[in-house]
């Protein structure tokens, strides 16, 4: 694992593989990475906002659990963004198929399920009333 992380931080290693592609492909790959990174940053911002702007919920510590889940999900999205960028850049340099990934589908399902759970919680609260 450390080997992989070290390679992310060593641009020479990536440049030693295959041939240098049309720079536009590299820049497009870089922008895709940045778009994923901002997705991760948005999740982190959601976690930080939850921790300080959401009033305490009736279920003990539910607010903190939601905040930590969003923060860790954002961090995971950022790590995965670097990994996917490096693997894509490698594939472009070698002229191989771009790496396929289930991650976008998994993330979409996780966010969708989380939103549904919150909708259910809000409805239960509105109907049950305090």
């Amino acid at each position: 694992m450390w080997q992989v992380i070290r390679r992310w931080f060593d641009p020479r290693e990536l440049r030693s593989v295959g041939t240098t592609p049309d720079y536009r492909f590299s820049l497009a790959n870089e922008r895709t990475f940045l778009a994923w990174l901002r997705t991760g940053l948005a999740l982190v911002a959601g976690g930080l906002a939850t921790a300080q702007f959401l009033p305490p919920l009736p279920l003990a510590h539910l607010r903190e659990v939601i905040a930590v889940a969003l923060l860790l999900l954002g961090g995971a999205v950022a790590v995965r963004a670097v990994d996917h960028w490096a693997r894509t850049e490698r594939a472009i340099r070698l002229g191989e198929e771009l790496p396929a990934s289930r991650f976008p589908a998994v993330l979409a399902l996780a966010v969708g399920l989380g939103a549904l759970l919150l909708v259910a919680a809000v409805l239960v609260r509105a109907v049950g009333g305090p």
């Binding site: 240098t20 940045l34 940053l41 976690g47 607010r63 950022a78």
Partner: protein, 106 residues
């Protein structure tokens, strides 16, 4: 080379948007750190000050990386370590936020 897609400019703007997002995160982290747990928690206040300082330092470092890459993005390949470094900053903010949110559990 003909470049009707303005790729370098789009890449520069993407880096600037990322820098903007990092700034929002830094402000939210500092606010959470300094408005933290109810009064009387001495250890919590020290932790908050430390986290706020780390957030500002990390933001400065990440913005320097964004700025250098935004001004350098062009036909010449040269992303260097910029990409893993900004991802590292994001993970750092996620961990600082987790530390602060976990204060509420104690």
């Amino acid at each position: 080379m003909r470049d009707p897609g303005l790729q370098p400019e789009r890449t520069r703007l993407a880096w600037r948007r990322t820098a903007l997002a990092l700034t929002v995160i830094m402000v939210l982290t500092v606010r959470l750190a300094l408005t933290g747990p109810p009064a009387g928690a001495g250890a919590g206040e020290t932790l908050g000050a430390l986290v706020a300082g780390a957030a500002v330092l990390g933001w400065g470092a990440a913005l320097t990386v964004c700025w250098r890459r935004a001004t350098g993005a062009g036909p010449a390949p040269g992303y260097g370590r910029s990409l893993p470094l900004v991802a590292l900053a994001t993970v750092g903010f996620a961990l600082l936020g987790t530390l602060l949110a976990a204060r509420g559990l104690g």
